[in-house]
């Protein structure tokens, strides 16, 4: 999800900025000395720490990035809601505190302005991509985002499934259900076969296309599972008709370039052994497909066609994220072009040598050995990418200024939330366990034509 990177909005939540190029080799060495499980525990807990630290104490809204003035990203809130059960299970937060924090967030979304005005929080049950951290209202004239609302709703449903007690927990379930039921997915189809990506009060529906596979499977699963305003049965088929099954760099794959597109839906949905029509035809599933995508990224790292610094079979991870900014340089008689925040991909590109340091670790459930080998290699080679045990959004060793490789400032909430969830899915499968129990998610998967595996055991 490429997003604009802007500054200057008001911000009062507390934040801590890491030094730009922190002297962390000692910390890196300490991390490397840890056995795998201890290493994961530490990195996971630090990632969770972001979601707690950078949240508004009244509303629970979570900042998109740790940078001053960052607004809330609703997708990050969805990740945060999903991470509180992890924190409870890991003993980092008491269950009652986690429930209180979750309830705060759900109450905010339940009570905030839902109308077609230019500065509401949402409309038709969907929410604006970025909200003011204080007022909770739309900022930057951003779009009412279908994908980001879906990630938020996935978190809301996760919370609703996990908190099964009385008191606050009962209210969480009630609000979770009501917020999900309120989303008008039918409206978002705009009377077409597939779903609009967004809407703005200024111009109505955005007409960005949906062509080819990406992170949006969860949009359709949630939309098709809705008991109130479901997507049409044909919507998913409309999207998957643009899929392309491809043999690429030795792998058979449903291709999508940026690595995050193979991870976001997967953070919530247990795709192991369940298949939709397309995957049945190809004798694969979305879980194995991510493995193939990882193999392509590693192979691309090994081939390193553009000759970028650091790339290796054990150093990869090209995805959407922060970048060095738009500039053109001639380096060692090569013309090179760098970009700011953008969706990068492999092998088709765009690729400017920027790696997302968190990405390899986020693939943990799809192959722990590969993910850990890569992450350790990265920490050993470029320890500066990890400060306070948290990975920065991007770094680019091909672009060194004053001897320091370019490093994204601070942290991004999406990266941290995804890491907490994926590490947990690897360690215990907790998130997948929770969402497998959601009747709405079961209904959505079945509505999209998924069959087999654990889903066949659900009534």
């Amino acid at each position: 999800m490429p997003r604009p990177l802007r500054r200057g909005t008001r911000r009062r939540v507390r934040h801590r900025l890491p030094p730009l190029n922190p002297p962390v080799s000692a910390a890196g060495e300490t991390l490397l000395a840890l056995p795998d499980d201890a290493l994961l525990d530490r990195l996971q807990r630090a990632a969770f720490g972001y979601l707690a630290e950078y949240s508004n104490p009244e509303t629970g809204l979570v900042a998109d990035t740790s940078r001053g003035g960052s607004p809330c990203s609703i997708a990050v809130v969805g990740f945060a809601l999903s991470c509180y059960p992890v924190a409870v299970a890991r003993g980092w937060v008491s269950r009652s505190a986690a429930a209180a924090q979750t309830l705060k967030i759900l109450r905010f979304f339940s009570e905030s302005a839902q109308n077609d005005g230019p500065d509401a929080t949402g409309y038709k049950g969907f929410y604006y991509h970025f909200l003011d951290m204080q007022s909770g209202r739309r900022v930057w004239q951003c779009e009412l985002s279908v994908v980001d609302t879906s990630l938020l709703i996935a978190g809301i449903l996760t919370a609703g499934c996990y908190f099964d007690g009385d008191g606050n927990e009962a209210e969480i379930r009630g609000l979770s259900d009501a917020l999900y039921r309120r989303v008008d997915w039918q409206w978002a189809q705009n009377e077409r076969q597939t779903v609009a990506q967004g809407w703005k009060p200024e111009c109505g529906f955005l007409h960005y296309g949906w062509e080819g596979y990406n992170e949006a499977t969860i949009v359709f699963v949630l939309g098709l599972g809705s008991p109130t305003h479901p997507l049409s049965a044909a919507s998913f088929a409309g999207w998957t008709s643009t899929y392309q099954w491809e043999n690429l760099l030795g792998q058979d794959v449903l291709y999508s370039g940026p690595l995050f597109t193979h991870l976001f839906s997967h953070a919530w949905l247990d795709y192991r052994d369940i298949r939709d029509v397309f995957m049945r035809e190809k004798d694969s599933d979305y879980f194995d497909n991510t493995r193939s995508a990882i193999a392509i990224h590693r192979e691309y790292g090994a081939r390193n066609p553009r000759g970028y610094e650091g790339y290796d079979r054990n150093l990869w991870g090209i995805t959407a994220g922060d970048g060095p900014g738009n500039r053109e340089l001639r380096q060692s008689s090569r013309d090179r072009r760098y970009f700011g925040y953008m969706s990068r991909g492999a092998p088709y590109g765009p690729d400017d040598g920027t790696i997302a340091p968190w990405a390899m670790l986020a693939t943990l459930p799809f192959g722990a050995d590969i993910a850990l080998r890569g992450t350790r290699h990265l920490l050993r080679t470029y320890p500066q990418i990890c400060s306070n045990d948290r990975f920065c959004s991007g770094f680019n060793p091909s672009l060194a200024e004053h001897g320091n490789a370019w490093l994204s400032e601070g942290w991004y909430g999406l990266d941290q939330g995804l890491l907490v969830m994926m590490i947990e899915n690897y360690r215990s499968g907790l998130i997948w366990e929770i969402t497998r129990d959601s009747t709405w998610i079961q209904a959505g998967l079945k509505g999209a034509g998924f069959e087999g595996g654990w889903l066949s055991r659900c009534r």
Partner: protein, 484 residues
């Protein structure tokens, strides 16, 4: 070679139309690629042929389309290469200023040279009666060629298409260029706004940017080249932006006006309004068929103003003696489509054949850098027809010759019907995709499958070896099959 040489070939000032024969086997309306091919083909088979052209022989392709645009793209590529000379160890990497007059003189020289192959003399030598003037039907088997009444047994309408105009408020008053007028520019515009992100818009945007114009391209759709697949269109976006073209997708042009001597394009993106100041505007939003002045009704020929003359799969119009070919009736408005459809129409009209246009396999190419070429079915079309398809992709960055040439952007994708080795289409994005797609055309016409292709020896190193490598990937992945 000058303008006189061009006219001598395609519209001699002293030309006098011949006295018409009593009846022609074939009357061809339009002397562009389709009309020329139809007339030649029929004459070669011994038929009497009248060819009527209202402007100049050669059509849009020679005068305003393929030829001048490829000539100017040739110069633009040289300029781009000079800008990257340093990467190759060339001592100077600075781009010289553009001598636009020399660039355009080269375009005209090339046009004049190629006009010889479409010349009126050549037609006459083949026994074709050429009439210069407007063609207009006056009956089921009769028309007026200029002032001359002319009777025919069969006719082929091949009057082509012209750039589509627009109802953008203010644009007519501000003034704009089209593909038909841009090559008459006297000087390089400092700032050029291109409206439309189809093949012609993208080619022109990149070429003028490389020549030194500051170019903005505005496209209503979320991607350039809406008919190409996502990965190809995204590579083109990157390439345009790398060259310095300001790309504005999802952008609607709401109006145009003049302010302090500048042309202002008023644009809207996601509800945000802004304006772009330019010196020239190129409107490139498609082409519409030339049908208005033909009095088609007099011959009982149906047409739609936007789609053109209605034809069946045999290219026959609603008048059983009249066929159509090329841009005037086809969705694919390309020179090769025009020529191949014209030859097919001749076979059906004069030889009693029943060849179907739907069986034609027509490759096409957009001549940006890298070029984007396609043939056959797309994956989307295949899936719509419930054909299970798998793409075999080779990235140009993995092809030795593309690496040595410094032309490693792009890919070869061959679409294969699953459960077989049968090739149903291909998309190629490469520096010379237009050359490589022709190999795919031969492969598909000859019915060569992936297994056989994997064993066809190619020159090495060559960029077209990517095609063989895709077939090798097929064989590697198919159990029990190995390339020798």
């Amino acid at each position: 070679m000058n303008q006189d040489d061009l006219l001598r070939r395609v519209r001699p000032p002293s030309w006098k139309n011949p006295v018409p024969q009593s009846v022609y086997d074939l009357a061809v309306l339009g002397g562009g690629p389709a009309g020329f091919a139809a007339a030649e083909s029929a004459a070669r088979q011994g038929h009497s042929v009248a060819l009527i052209e209202r402007y100049r022989l050669g059509g849009n392709s020679l005068h305003a389309g393929s030829i001048p645009s490829k000539a100017i793209i040739g110069t633009a590529r040289l300029f781009a290469a000079m800008g990257h000379g340093g990467e190759y160890g060339a001592s100077s990497s600075s781009k010289p200023p553009t001598d636009f007059a020399a660039v355009m003189a080269r375009v005209r020289r090339i046009r004049t040279r190629i006009a010889e192959y479409h010349s009126i003399e050549r037609c006459r030598a083949r026994g074709i009666d050429v009439f210069l003037g407007d063609a207009r039907f006056v009956g089921h088997n009769a028309l007026l060629a200029g002032e001359s009444p002319l009777f025919f047994r069969k006719a082929i309408v091949a009057t082509g298409a012209r750039p589509r105009s627009s109802n953008i408020p203010g644009l007519e008053q501000v003034g704009y260029l089209t593909s038909e007028t841009i090559f008459d520019l006297g000087g390089l515009p400092a700032r050029l706004g291109v409206i439309g992100g189809g093949p012609l818009g993208c080619e022109s945007a990149q070429a003028f940017c490389r020549l030194g114009s500051r170019v903005s391209i505005l496209q209503n759709d979320p991607k350039f080249l809406p008919h190409e697949e996502r990965d190809a269109a995204e590579l083109l976006s990157m390439s345009l932006s790398r060259d310095g073209v300001e790309t504005r997708l999802n952008t609607t042009v709401a109006g145009a006006h003049v302010e302090k001597g500048e042309k202002i394009i008023e644009a809207i993106n996601d509800g945000l309004k802004y304006s772009i100041a330019v010196d020239e505007i190129l409107l490139s939003i498609g082409r519409v068929p030339n049908v208005e002045d033909l009095d088609l009704r007099a011959a009982g020929i149906d047409c739609e103003p936007d789609q053109g003359i209605k034809v069946d799969d045999f290219l026959r119009t609603t008048n059983g003696d009249v066929y159509a070919a090329g841009d005037v009736c086809m969705a694919l408005k390309f020179t090769n489509a025009a020529e191949s459809s014209a030859r097919l129409a001749v076979q059906n009209a004069l030889r009693g054949k029943a060849e179907r246009q739907s069986r034609l396999t027509i490759p096409w190419c957009t001549y940006c850098s890298p070029e984007i070429a396609h043939i056959g079915m797309s994956v989307k079309e295949a899936r719509e027809r419930a054909i299970s398809v798998k793409s075999y992709t080779v990235m140009m960055q993995d092809v030795d010759r593309a690496i040595t040439d410094g032309q490693d952007d792009g890919f070869v994708k061959i679409y294969v019907r699953e459960g077989s080795d049968s090739i149903i289409g291909a998309t190629i994005v490469a520096a010379r995709a237009s050359e490589m797609i022709n190999e795919m055309s031969v492969i598909m016409s000859a019915g060569i499958g992936m297994r056989q292709l994997a064993n066809i020896v190619h020159a090495y190193p060559a960029q077209s070896d990517a095609i063989r490598l895709a077939a090798v990937a097929y064989v590697d992945g198919a159990p029990g099959i190995h390339a020798d």
